[in-house]
Subunit: 145 residues, 2 copies
């Protein structure tokens, strides 16, 4: 793990009341989908899951943290790649069962494939067609594995 130093505007470390936390509706598995949206361009960067701890860690650190269903553990986005997501604001929807974060995406890369966001496959003439290429290769980001 290499936590890159963060430059730029001050990090938002957001408190949450017990009442507000109780309005967040985690599902039967204790999870809620969380969208990361670029704070400047409104581009949707990625969607992942949070458990209660990941949400609280996001709010206390000001960096997006998620819960990996496959690895069954929490992770801070960018903890390996340096591509941290700095929290600018956080919202929930009308039903309280989706989280929306506006973030500054460090390195301009949100996707583990090295692309700027995860939604690069668009339906065209019946097939999913890549709309843009990686900014960096996975080997460049994570090293040879």
């Amino acid at each position: 793990m290499s936590d890159s130093p963060v430059s730029g505007p001050a990090v938002l470390v957001a408190p949450i009341s017990a009442a507000a936390l109780a309005e967040v509706r985690f599902d039967a598995q204790g999870l809620i989908p969380a969208i990361a949206q670029d704070a400047v361009t409104n581009e949707i960067l990625m969607v992942a899951w949070m458990d209660r701890d990941a949400l609280l860690r996001t709010l206390s650190t000001g960096r997006a943290c998620y819960y990996s269903r496959s690895r069954r553990s929490a992770w801070m986005k960018g903890e390996s790649s340096g591509h941290l997501q700095i929290l600018r604001e956080i919202r929930i929807d009308c039903d309280g069962d989706v989280v929306l974060m506006k973030v500054d995406q460090l390195g301009g890369i949100a996707c583990h494939t090295g692309r700027r966001n995860c939604f690069y496959r668009k339906l065209e003439n019946g097939d999913w067609v890549n709309q843009f290429e990686p900014v960096k290769s996975e080997a460049e980001i994570y090293g040879e594995r």
Copy 2:
């Protein structure tokens, strides 16, 4: 149900190959989260769920269709309110487990509360604070119930 007539640009009716459909990863309940994003402003309008039939109905009608987990049935967004979502493009993410639609939101109202989108509650000083008010009341949209 009052299906409002649709004006404006032609509806996209999107075919999908069997191979492309097989790349869409529905969860153990047969569902996938779907984001509706305003095609012009990139504002996130709402997030709901699709099953396979809702996805195919979305593609064949060119209007966003979802699956209601509480009612256990498919629905076309706007079938009661007239606030249809006209599909402009559809993407999936790197893992194939999230759908992103860019849509034209008829009536400028996506949320069942009458607001333009569902993400009107922002965390401020520890509590969720409404950022904007309904364009119309629920009674105006759905009639007195």
